[in-house]
Symmetry: C2
Subunit: 363 residues, 2 copies
C-alpha cells in the first residue's frame, strides 16, 4: 500500500476541526484527537487516523452520542462504576482514568469500571496518563467477540487488550497488548498480501487451525464460526489456555465489574456496548517512591544490557519502540495510506472542513 507522510500539527488541527464539527467542544476534540493520533505517532496504525471513517459513520448513525456526559452510578472512595451512555470511548476513557488518578492521589488507589461505551483507541494512552502522574496505570477493555476459547469454534471473547504502565528512568514501562495472539488487523494485512497465515493465529469455522486469511475474515464478518486464537495458540502444547485466561480476566474487570455487556454481546444489531476499566495505583503505598522507581529502572537496564540472541542487537522494554516512534513522527510526520487519505478528504468535504488547507489535495 502507498503511503504519504502528513505533517503532524496539521493533521492534529484537521482532526480538531472535524470533531468540533460533530458538536464536541474544543477541549473534547483535543482529547479525542490526542488519543487517536497517539496511535499513529506510536506506530500502531490500526488504531490511528485510519479509524476516523468508522467514527464518522458511527456519528452519522447515532451510535456515538455527542451531548451526553457519562454518569457515575456507584462510587466508593477507591472505586466508581460509570455508565458512558454511548459517549465517545476516548472521552469516557479519559474522564474515567482522570477519576481513577484523582482517587489514587487521595486514597492510594482508584478503580473505575465503565459500561455502555464505544471503542476507545489504544489502551496505552490511558495508562500513560497515570504514569505521567507518577502512578501505576492499569487499563483493559473488552471488544466485539473475535477470540475463540480453547477447544471452541465460536468467538466468545474480544481481543481484550491489557495495558500496564509504571514510571521509570529514562522512559516509563508501557505494556499494551491484545490477549489474542494477534489483532484482526494483522490477518487483514496477510489477506491483502495473499500470504498464508502462520499456524497458531486463527481457526476455521470447524475450530481447526487455518492458514487462509480470506476464509478466516469471511467467517468472522459473516459470523460463520472460527476466529482468532488466544495468545499461546490453538492447543495445550503452546498453552493457548493461558491467553484465553488473560482474556477472561480482562472480561472480569471490564464488563462484569461495570455491569455491562460481555464481549459476546458487546455488538448486537450493529449496536456497541463496550466496557473498560481504569486503575491508578500510587506506588507510594509500598514505601519510598524514589527508591521503588530507581530499583525498577535498574532492573530494566539489566534487561536491556543482558546478552542478546545470535543475530539480535537489542532487547526492548515495552513502550520503548513506541516512544521512539513518537519522537520521530511528531517531527517527521505521520504516514497515512491512500485509502485513509481519501477518506479524510471525503469526511472534510461532507462536513465543509477545508481539508486541503490541512492535508493538501494530492496524495
Amino acid at each position: 500500500m502507498a503511503y504519504k507522510i502528513l505533517n503532524y500539527p496539521r493533521v492534529r488541527d484537521y482532526c480538531n476541526d472535524i470533531f468540533q464539527n460533530y458538536g464536541f467542544s474544543e477541549e473534547e476534540s483535543r482529547t479525542i484527537t490526542n488519543v487517536l493520533l497517539m496511535a499513529d505517532l506510536y506506530g500502531i496504525e490500526s488504531h490511528g487516523i485510519q479509524r476516523l471513517i468508522r467514527y464518522h459513520n458511527a456519528m452519522k448513525d447515532g451510535e456515538v452520542s455527542v451531548d451526553v456526559r457519562p454518569a457515575i452510578t456507584f462510587e466508593t472512595p477507591i472505586s466508581a462504576v460509570v455508565n458512558a451512555k454511548k459517549a465517545m470511548g476516548q472521552l469516557a476513557g479519559h474522564d474515567a482514568m482522570m477519576l481513577a488518578i484523582d482517587k489514587a492521589k487521595k486514597t492510594g488507589i482508584g478503580m473505575v469500571a465503565v459500561s455502555h461505551s464505544n471503542h476507545y483507541g489504544i489502551a496505552g494512552y490511558y495508562t500513560k496518563l497515570a504514569a505521567d502522574n507518577d502512578l501505576i496505570g492499569i487499563c483493559m477493555t473488552n471488544t466485539e467477540a473475535i477470540m475463540v476459547p480453547t477447544f471452541g469454534r465460536q468467538a466468545m471473547l474480544g481481543t481484550n487488550p491489557i495495558s500496564v504502565s509504571m514510571p521509570a528512568d529514562p522512559t516509563p514501562f508501557l505494556f499494551d497488548a491484545a490477549t489474542t495472539v494477534v489483532p484482526r488487523g494483522k490477518v487483514e494485512v496477510y489477506n491483502k498480501k495473499e500470504q498464508a497465515l502462520p499456524t497458531g493465529w486463527a481457526l476455521d469455522e470447524k475450530g481447526l487451525d487455518c492458514n487462509n486469511p480470506g476464509l478466516v475474515l469471511n467467517n468472522i464478518i459473516n459470523k460463520l464460526g472460527g476466529g482468532i486464537l488466544p495468545l499461546g495458540g490453538s492447543n495445550e502444547t503452546t498453552s493457548g489456555y493461558k491467553g484465553y485466561g488473560f482474556g477472561l480476566i480482562c472480561e472480569l474487570f471490564t464488563s462484569i465489574m461495570a455491569g455491562g455487556a460481555t464481549s459476546n454481546h458487546a455488538v448486537e444489531n450493529g449496536h456497541n456496548e463496550i466496557s473498560h476499566c481504569f486503575w491508578a495505583i500510587d506506588y507510594g503505598i509500598f514505601g519510598n517512591k524514589e527508591a521503588i522507581k530507581k530499583n525498577f529502572s535498574v532492573f530494566l537496564d539489566e534487561l536491556r544490557n543482558s546478552k542478546k540472541a545470535e543475530g539480535q542487537e537489542r532487547i526492548y522494554i515495552h513502550g520503548e519502540k513506541e516512544l521512539e516512534s513518537y519522537e520521530r513522527k511528531t517531527k517527521e510526520g505521520i504516514p497515512v495510506n491512500e485509502k485513509t487519505f481519501q477518506e479524510m478528504q471525503e469526511i472534510g468535504r461532507s462536513l465543509g472542513v477545508d481539508y486541503a488547507g490541512y492535508i493538501g489535495e494530492d496524495f
Copy 2:
C-alpha cells in the same frame, strides 16, 4: 515412571508429622501441608509432595528459617510490605493473603508485597483463599530466573506465575499460570521420555530455538545461557513479547513493590530471596455482589455451552479441571512416583518418623 496411589489423609498426617519434626507448630504444619498437597490434589504434581525433598534439604541447610515470623516493614490501610525473613514461603504467603483479605474487608482492597521469602507452592492456593472469602484474589511470585526475554539469550525473569480467582456458581474461576510458555518440569518430562521439544518452548545458549531438552536443561543448570521462552514463543510472529511483558508485570508487583531481589538475583550463592504479592479485592466496591457474581456465572456458562471445535467435547473454565481432580483424589488417593516415594521414606527415617505407618513399606 511408575506411580503408587497413596491414601490422602495418611499422606496429610505424614506431612504434618514431618513438618512438626522440623519445629513448626501444629497449625503451621497444617498450613504448609495444605498448600503442598493441594498441588497434588489439583493434579499439579510438579508443585506437590515431590518437592518435599527440596524443603527437607533447605531446612537442613538453614535456607528456611523455622522460628521467624515475617515482619511488616511498611503499611497503609490498603497495603503492606512484608519481610519474610527466610520463612517457609507457604507460611509467609498464607499470612500475607490473610492480611490482604482483612484489609479488603475493611477498605475494599488489600495489597501485600512480600520479600525475602522462599518458594511458596501453587499460587492458586492463595487466590482461592480470597475467593473462599467472597473476594477477588490476585497473586504473583517471582522465581529463579529461567525466562529469556525476547531477542535475548540469558534468563532474566522467572516462570513468574500469575493467579486470579473470582467467586462464581457452581465453582470459582481460578486462573493460575506461569508467564513462560511451559514450566521447567515439562522440559524435564520430555528429557526423561527422550522426546524432542516442540519449537517455541526453549532456546539454546546462543538464544536460538532448540528442540533438545537435555541440552536446554544442562545449559540452565550450568548457567551457560538460553532457557525457557515466554508465553507466545521466540519471535514476534507468535507475540512472545507479550508473555515477556506479563512476566515483567509480575516482577513489578512482586520484587519491585516489595523492595526484594528481582528474578535474576533471586537465587545467588545458593541463597533464595523470592518475592510475592497478594491482592484481595472486595468486588462490592463495584456494586451489588450478588448481581455481579450472577452475571459472571452466566458468562462462564455461555463459554461452557459455546460451540466446540471438531473433535472436542468440552470447553473448560480455568480451575474446573483442578477442582474435579481435587474431588476425585481426596477420595481415591494421590499418585506418587517411585522416586518421590523413596524420598518420603528417607525423610521419615532421618527424622525418626514412622513413615511405614503412614505410607507403607513397599512401592
